[in-house]
Subunit: 191 residues, 2 copies
DNA sequence: GTCTATATGTCGATAGAC
DNA sequence: GTCTATCGACATATAGAC
């Protein structure tokens, strides 16, 4: 449309390339040189749009958070029954993890590379996981609207822990076996 | 005693220093230069004892596997009652994770930094997690010796997933809250 | 806004003296 | 077995032309 789009295209191309490389390879092992080479831009163009490599990583996580929740919600909202909606959490994992070559959770992977609890990056990780817990708790609440808060809380926490565990084990074993185990366990918990 | 001990001391000092740094900081962010500086040895001395940085990492994981299971078994074997032995898994987590500054599982952290499924490092990770699953399954079997194999298997898998999930969340939130949740959930599962 | 060229430092790994 | 000195490659980041 206008000149703003040209800048937008460059920044977007950089971000998309970096997102792919950070996710597939990891943060520290991915150099700026590889990002700019594969994005097809000059080094100074990168530093025109992003102030540093870490700032690029923050942009990656910000975008990833939105994308990932969009994928998850699309899967859940295909179902009407509240029980099916909760179980579709694991249908989602069965689609997403093989598609991502079993690379696991982008936020947990990044957190492993940023041990300092005070970094901005760790803040985005915590925010992402908080949102996931809220999302699961909403699904559980709708399923059992009359149950007391304590039981809802514990049940939601357990489902969240199983969900996280299933992501992890699928990354280690490159298999969906534990996702199926988790779905079956949750099915027994909610019936 | 003799000249062999001097060599052993140097290699041990390098391995101990590297183990601390790999665990606290991560693999790729830890340079050989930092390892040799903090170990107080020359660079060529390092390459005399270890053929490469990755070989040093393999030695780290090998030692870590033995140490960690030693800690875990010490905690479990303090109890006689089979139910208490199973629940002491989480007492162990409550001790270990705060002591390790909530850095989480050394093997999962390293796995995040080595995405390639064919690396020797990923093999050690899988072996470590296999051993943990076997350990948990033994505890579950002793607790319910008459139950059918399928139920034992599913229950063990769920406890393993919760155990892994608890380690992960304590790393993200720097808290033992989810460990307590997990212990309570497992207590309800086995009674 | 994008480019080439460069600055400055650190990486993993090795050569050769002792 | 341990040391100092050094290798070539690559890291993040910047200067200045266009």
């Amino acid at each position: 449309m206008n000149s703003r789009n040209l800048s937008g295209d460059t920044a977007t191309r950089i971000l998309k390339t970096a997102s792919r490389l950070f996710y597939e390879q990891g943060y520290h092992v991915t150099g700026i040189n590889q990002v700019i080479t594969e994005a097809g831009v000059a080094k100074a163009s990168f530093y025109y749009h992003f102030s540093s490599k870490e700032e690029l990583c923050l942009a990656y996580l910000h975008q990833r958070h939105q994308d990932w929740f969009c994928w998850l919600q699309q899967e859940v909202e295909q179902h009407e029954d509240d029980q099916e909606r909760l179980l579709s959490l694991f249908t989602f994992l069965e689609r997403w993890l093989p598609d991502s070559n079993f690379r696991g959770c982008a936020f947990l992977n990044i957190a492993s590379e940023f041990p300092s609890p005070d970094s901005k990056i760790r803040l985005l990780v915590v925010n992402h996981k908080n949102a996931l817990q809220s999302f699961i708790q909403q699904l559980v609440k709708k399923l059992n609207p009359l149950t007391d808060e304590n039981h809802i809380g514990l049940l939601s926490d357990v489902i969240y822990l199983l969900f996280e565990g299933a992501i992890n084990e699928s990354q280690i074993y490159r298999s969906t076996r534990f996702i199926q185990v988790t779905r079956e366990a949750v099915r027994q918990l909610i019936t």
